[in-house]
Subunit: 304 residues, 2 copies
Amino acid sequence: MKITKSTRIGWIGTGIMGRNMAMHILRDGYSLFVYNRTHSKAVELTSKGAVWCESPAEVAAMSDVIFTMVGYPSDVKETILGENGVLVAIRSNGILVDMTTSSPTLAKDIALIAGRRGISAIDAPVSGGDIGAQEATLSIMIGGDKKVVDALSPLWKLMGKTIVYQGEAGSGQYAKTVNQILIAGNMIGLCEALLFAYQSGLDLERVFQSVSTGAAGSWSLTNIAPRIMRGDFEPGFFVEHFVKDIEIALEESRRMNLSLPGLALVEQFYIAAKAKGYGKNGTQVLLRVLAELNNFDLGKKGKR
Amino acid sequence: MKITKSTRIGWIGTGIMGRNMAMHILRDGYSLFVYNRTHSKAVELTSKGAVWCESPAEVAAMSDVIFTMVGYPSDVKETILGENGVLVAIRSNGILVDMTTSSPTLAKDIALIAGRRGISAIDAPVSGGDIGAQEATLSIMIGGDKKVVDALSPLWKLMGKTIVYQGEAGSGQYAKTVNQILIAGNMIGLCEALLFAYQSGLDLERVFQSVSTGAAGSWSLTNIAPRIMRGDFEPGFFVEHFVKDIEIALEESRRMNLSLPGLALVEQFYIAAKAKGYGKNGTQVLLRVLAELNNFDLGKKGKR
């Protein structure tokens, strides 16, 4: 398939990420057919000319290329393989692109099932958050048939800046998993380090000055530590989404007989964060979990 | 005390870091008096005009400002408080600056003992490694009497780029500990993520392209991952030095009643690294430890 401006694009999942990504496609002049579980979240798109559909199957029936950007692997499964799912109505030679951060094994299964019917399924999770979605600077990690991935190039470029083909189906999800394992390590280091700094009575601004540009530096330190220092635990990136990503990573690892003790430990604290009602906070709330574990009042000065 | 070119500088500990740092002071025209346990490591300095002394005490007797840059807290203790240590011979109004990465509690003890005799003791550990020492781009984290720290300004500037006063005695060491806790988290995340990438059969170069500039980015990822991908486990930063730093962090945490589960776990794997004979490898050898834990052959392709 060659993508032209007459290629009809479907978009399922118009949450904060999906909406911003789909908007770039719509603005570039493509016909866009949209569905979302909660209708109201699609209004921004439909008010600008996107066509509302009543189900994933209806989107599929109207479109040549169908993007999905939903929540959990279970949502991906339902949206694509379910009763009113994409595969019920997609035309042969249709292309299905799941951009949800989801399970690599599920991505491979979907590619297999779709492939039997002549349909290409591509997995293409992203990193870069809502800002990256808005500014079209996402990193897109892509798995699936290389020819199809290349053909989609005009669409990738509307959404992302770092667009890398990672290999056969599932590889995009594997790469995104690598991304999340990196973040998990950075976050536990960051939160334990800041707690240590508080506890030892240091001035956090000064410590930040000393450590942020050297060998201890990280995106998390540069971007999230300042939020923590302001006492800001708003998302950013939701705890409950991160828990999902860690679960995916650990499930895949289990399946591959791979023991990742650091990640397993981080998961425990994020489960605790959810248990404490911090699921809708940003991932930096891990500091609060660790502070509470230590009966340490973040509002007070250290007690070295 | 005002630092002028007639201020006599003592330097104890001329290993890879100390030698390069002291060289900047010598080259700037100061008289330098040096001691090192292994004489040969001081020859580079003495051949350029530094005066060899037979003990820390002798260095102290000859100098106005005495720097120490040794190995372990036990070495700091012996060098400063021991039988032939600095405090035996230092003049009143002398200034003692320990730049070793050492125990905050020991730094406070030394400052107390020295202070009773009218001597200022400053703790000023650094980050930036041998390259930072050579190029005088170190981050220097400083604790102690602020007036004295300010007076030493001409000397700091010869060695470092990021020079930050952290607070009273011990604060420099606390800040450096924060730095090392950050690195510990980054390293476990990095090594587990890369192992996952290997195991899932990804092309590491492509993964690196996707993840290195976004939210998963870190100094470790940018600088150490490429070494790992080349199969290079040379130091960089020695495992056995990192184990020391983690021990200091955990001892201080224990003393403050602070539980840091992530750091404690990382310590276990670095102890295992030492047990496996990897003490003289770089900290990235953690990947090898985790690979061996999983009976995974890093030379082979993944087995997803």
